[in-house]
Symmetry: C2
DNA sequence: TTGTAGTTTAACAAAAATGTTAAACATAAT
DNA sequence: ATTATGTTTAACATTTTTGTTAAACTACAA
């Protein structure tokens, strides 16, 4: 049987990803996505059967991609300090590309009463232990390791979620904002690690 | 003419506020809100004419309330350090009550191409100058004052936006999470101010 | 060339959400 | 008690979004 693969299925997924996670239209319709992809809306149903299935697949793929990237950092046999450095680079680059991904996850969370996957729970649990160890060695300020993690992710994620507001607030364009975000990588490290 | 005022109009607004900003159902329908308020959906149209007008009013009232609270902090004739302290208290208490308010603003921003009100722009401009001054006095670490502001608001807002994920991630209940958030007030001050 | 199977489209159907109307209801003033 | 007026409700209409179907289209192979 001829597998023709016109790339349409992937195009729809990529477009949905862009609309949700980059553009931030959290309640885009199938028509919105089809228009943005330049295809007939019916193709969404042809390839994915329903809107919900498309959304589910897009979210799952994004989660997997992120998970893979973080895993490579967390499992690396390197010093904690170096790990934090790499984590900031990896996460910030992702957050620059997909600033609204976490927001999408939160809203999806509320609709479907999802739970955090064990994979993530375990990864975080191990990292919390490393944080605690680093604190006991006096290398970072002592506090609840969960607060440390929240600080780190807050500093990385929030300025990107609020990009549109900040650009308007500070009267700056995309290029300048991107520069600010790149500068943040070092700045966050300095704030966290001292 | 008899102004009867059964409180229904306010009830609908308060309920919408709760659903959007506290519960975080960013795309709740008029039916959702009517159900939560325990009133007939038609009353939404009776009091507000349209769904959009209700949403607009709710957002505007929330903005005004926040603006008022922040203004009282920013315009106070007190030392910068004290100002930061108060800002954290005021903002965190609001964020605990309405964790999704900022997220709602962001998504509304994208739909309507709004702009940050001049009132807010001016307030921030003045505060940025104060931050710069404090840095020049060597009282806080030197950096782009905008980064300082982003740090501050990130640390306050993000953990509340991601409440549902964090509760699942750390296996904790509302009470424990609230405690973490209360502890953050001092912790954020210590991180920012040194 | 013709048949096959995947792909695309338009027309239609169904469901969900919003908006309108008229009548029922309730309360305060006359 | 009656009237007037604001409030609430149910039934209906409209719009928006989603899902289905059958036919048209296209590339490839026999």
């Amino acid at each position: 049987m001829a597998q023709r693969d016109t790339g349409t299925e992937q195009l729809i997924k990529d477009t949905a990803k862009r609309i949700f996670f980059s553009v931030g239209k959290l309640h885009a319709t199938t028509q919105d996505i089809a228009d943005a992809a330049g295809v007939n809306r019916t193709l969404v149903n042809y390839y994915f059967r329903s809107r919900d299935i498309l959304f589910e697949q897009v979210a799952e793929e994004a989660r997997a991609e992120m998970s893979e990237q973080l895993e490579s950092v967390f499992s690396a046999k390197i010093e904690f300090k170096e790990k934090v450095q790499r984590l900031i680079t990896v996460f910030m680059d992702q957050a620059i590309k997909f600033p609204y991904r976490e927001m999408y996850v939160v809203t999806a969370f509320k609709r479907t009463d999802k739970t955090v996957p064990d994979e993530k729970k375990n990864r975080i649990k191990k990292f919390l232990a490393e944080i605690k160890e680093e604190m006991e060695l006096g290398r970072i300020k002592k506090m609840d390791p969960r607060q440390f993690l929240m600080n780190l992710f807050s500093l990385m994620a929030y300025p990107l979620i609020t990009t549109c507001i900040n650009k308007s607030l500070y009267n700056i364009n995309d290029k300048e904002y991107l520069k600010l975000m790149q500068e943040r990588k070092q700045l966050i490290f300095d704030m966290i690690y001292q």
